[in-house]
Amino acid sequence: MGTASSESLSRVRHPSSVDLGAIIRQYGSYIGLALLVIVASLLSPAFLSTTNVFLILRQAAALGIIAEGQTFVILTGGIDLTVGSILSLSVVLVTSLYKYNDIRLVPLLLLVIGIGALIGVINGGAVAWLGVPPIVMTLGMMTLIQGAGLMYDKGVPQNTLTDTFRFLGEGKIWIVPIPVLVWAVVIGISAVLLYRTNFGSFVYAVGGNPKATRLSGVNVKLVMVLVYVVSGALAAIAGYVLAARMGVGDNWVGQTYALDSIACVAIGGTSLFGGRGGVGTTVAGVLLLSVLYNLLLLLGVSYFWQEVVKGLIIIGGVTLYTRRT
């Protein structure tokens, strides 16, 4: 069939022309963030105070951590809706098992990471081996995990606010809040994982073209499982951090995180089809949304408007990235 047609139908572009689309995708979120920060500081004098800036960062940390994990999954062309439930489960487990025993803090961290990773194995395994579409698999698991959490604490939140926890959640090292430090470390590890390991190269390849990647001898299935493991583990870590801040085992705290993390990834410029994007732009996406919320708060705008504006940014941002020159 049509030997010539496949050639002619591919867009013939001169290789040296500037790919505007790629540039917008790579830097658009940073530029947008910078503009927003400028606008915010003009509109509200309180915006740029140290207190406010770190407030924004501290509150964004959990979402930021989850969004980094989500980025990996989305880069392979998948999606992880379980992250919110994993976060909630993590919060519940930590607050109920801690029992004022500081010694337990580290093992608990490992426990929740292990559970998050295990859920990731189940998610990724079903997607890779059974061919279940990611959205379906993670949607189902999300509900399942949420239910498991409810069964566990029978809907009764545990209150375990202690000094240690207080410190982990509200304390600082130098002037940097601990949750923000954790976020920074996660960003660093994610960047290394994505840009400096072969695994990272495989993630992009699988997202860009799983068929061709498989025919190049790459273990596509393993890559797909691992991205969900990363996402699950990071969601658990985010839950741990959040538990430290809240001190209460609230089962519903993770509700909005799944969709919000996806929104941040998309606003950052990562393509939801996979193969394009990165972990840096996701940070910009998280900050964009966080700064926006903060600004609206400072200006006394009602909560309703926050959601509306968030929606507009998502639509506007993704449309911008989708237009090809």
């Binding site: 049509g2 030997t3 010539a4 040296s16 072969n198 390849a205 025919l215 001898g217 790459v218 273990n219």
Partner: protein
């Protein structure tokens, strides 16, 4: 067959794509109630001609006349409306709708309330099918029908569009003999209704059975149009392939190396049966045959991309289990697939990232990248393969077909593989790049690799191969050395025509 008035006329159609003249001054006509066969090798322009006719492509020059009036077919939808219907090898049917719904998709009859009149739709469907002697349960889902029955639905769909011309592209490639007979009697009914049938097929025997006239295309030009009764099979084959071999190919190598790859009785139901052959080091083994003969399936199975029901693969004399492309790569195999954009490259990634994709595994799984080594390897390969790109970070989708193909090849060259399989290595590539790739293949062979080359271009098969295997309908039907092979013999084996 009485000479009927001409219903379709294509005059002086030319169509060019970047780098290739697909059709040159092609004229074709078909009479009412005539079955006019269109034959030619892969790449002869048959499919392009069909796409010009049904509106998928616009011709550069030339005109189409339907019933004596000139028509400009803007798109296939309009084409259908004008009476030109096409039935492709891959049917355009909705698997989870029933027969009647598929026939009337988008044009469902409605009642006075504006709702779909299912009863009318079903009875109309039954009527259309009966008109040409087809009997189906119109309430059945497409996915529950056999291929031959699905084809009937496609024909009924065309009838519902009041088709004047019905183009059928390789209609019998997936049918049994019995189903083919049934199709032919349906076609004769269509003829009785005055519908013209343009019948594209590689199966010469069938062409003689069903067609009234035959037109042979070669390299985008019409070689000749004859009444079927005025030609015989040999003459037809000669018209299809007769050309001077004026392309220069690299000099062939020395033979008699050790066997590096052996296939023994490879079989997979529905794809290929009892395939056995040996591939020597330093040899280019051509695998020829028509589209659909199972060659790609064999290569993919050797590479671990698909499974086999039975059979053994031996590498350097030892039996090996190749269950995935990863296994194949670890054994030193490489595959340059048929469709480079879909299977050979990650289009949105750079030249460098594509080039090192297969090698990263060998550099240590999931361990840290070595960007400098990646760069070095890429630069070296880009220069030795003469890949034209502005930089190693250039998106591979922006390169020309020939350069893209070189990138696919470069994937396997950082560590010289034992066996490389090429599936249509120079399809859709301009003449200059073609020659370069041929030289690369021969160089690889001379360095000791065993090369399996699947190709549908006879000059390439004959010019490049040290030995030629021919497959037809999943079986090996020919084994020729370079000296004894001729285009005639290969084509005859591929089409099943007896000499």
């Amino acid at each position: 067959m009485t000479q009927s008035e001409t219903i379709l006329e294509m005059r002086n159609i030319s169509k060019a794509f970047p780098g290739v003249q697909a059709l040159q001054d092609v004229s074709f006509e078909c009479g009412r109630g005539e079955v006019h066969a269109l034959v030619g090798e892969n790449g002869s322009g048959k499919s392009t001609l069909v796409k010009v006719l049904n509106g998928a492509y616009a011709p550069d020059t030339g005109s189409i006349l339907l019933d004596g009036h000139e028509v400009k077919v803007k798109d296939p939808k309009q084409g259908k409306g004008l009476g030109i219907s096409t039935i492709y090898q891959e049917f355009e049917l909705e698997p989870y709708l029933d027969v009647a719904e598929n026939i009337f998709l988008g044009r469902e009859p409605t009642n006075r309330l504006g709702l779909v009149d299912f009863r009318k739709m079903h009875s109309e469907a039954v009527r259309l099918l009966n008109e040409v002697g087809m009997h189906l349960d119109v309430r059945k889902w497409i996915t529950d029908l056999s291929v031959s029955q699905q084809q009937m639905v496609e024909i009924a769909k065309a009838l519902s569009f009041r088709a004047k011309v019905l183009v059928m592209d390789e209609p019998t490639s997936t049918l049994t003999d019995e189903e083919t007979d049934r199709l032919f009697s349906i076609i004769r009914s269509l003829q009785g209704q005055g519908i013209a049938v343009v019948y594209i097929s590689h199966r010469i025997k069938e062409v003689f059975e069903i067609a009234d006239r035959v037109t042979v295309l070669r390299d985008g030009k019409v070689v000749g149009t004859e009444m079927i009764r005025n030609v015989d099979e040999t003459a037809l084959v000669k018209m299809m392939i007769g050309r001077t071999l004026d392309t220069i190919f690299p000099e062939k190598g020395e033979q008699g190396g050790e066997v590096v790859l052996s296939a023994r009785h490879l079989s997979r139901k529905g794809a290929f049966d009892d395939i056995s052959f040996d591939l020597q080091k330093g040899e280019i083994l051509g695998l020829s045959g028509l589209v659909g003969s199972g060659r790609t399936e064999v290569a993919r199975t050797l590479f671990g991309a698909d499974r086999m029901d039975r059979g053994e693969i031996l590498l350097d004399g030892r039996a090996v289990k190749i269950r995935s492309p990863r296994d194949a790569v670890s054994f030193g195999l490489g595959l340059v697939p048929e469709n480079r954009r879909e299977e050979g490259l990650v289009i949105c990634l750079s030249v460098q990232k594509n080039t090192v994709l297969a090698v990263l595994e060998r550099m240590g799984r999931f361990l840290f990248r070595n960007p400098r080594r990646e760069r070095d390897i890429t630069v070296q390969l880009v220069s030795s393969l003469d890949i034209k790109c502005p930089s190693c970070d250039c998106e591979v989708g922006l390169l020309s077909g020939g350069n893209q193909q070189k990138v696919v090849l470069s994937k396997w060259l950082s560590a010289p593989p034992k066996v490389i399989m090429f599936d249509e290595p120079t399809r859709g590539i301009d003449v200059g790049a073609k020659a370069e790739i041929h030289i690369l293949m021969r160089t690889l062979a001379n360095k000791g690799a065993g090369i399996l080359m699947i190709s549908s271009e006879l000059p390439e098969v004959l010019g490049m191969s040290d030995r030629i295997l021919v497959m037809r309908e999943g079986r090996l039907v020919g084994d020729f050395s370079a000296q004894e092979a001729t285009e005639q013999k290969v084509m005859a084996a591929a089409t099943g025509v007896m000499q």
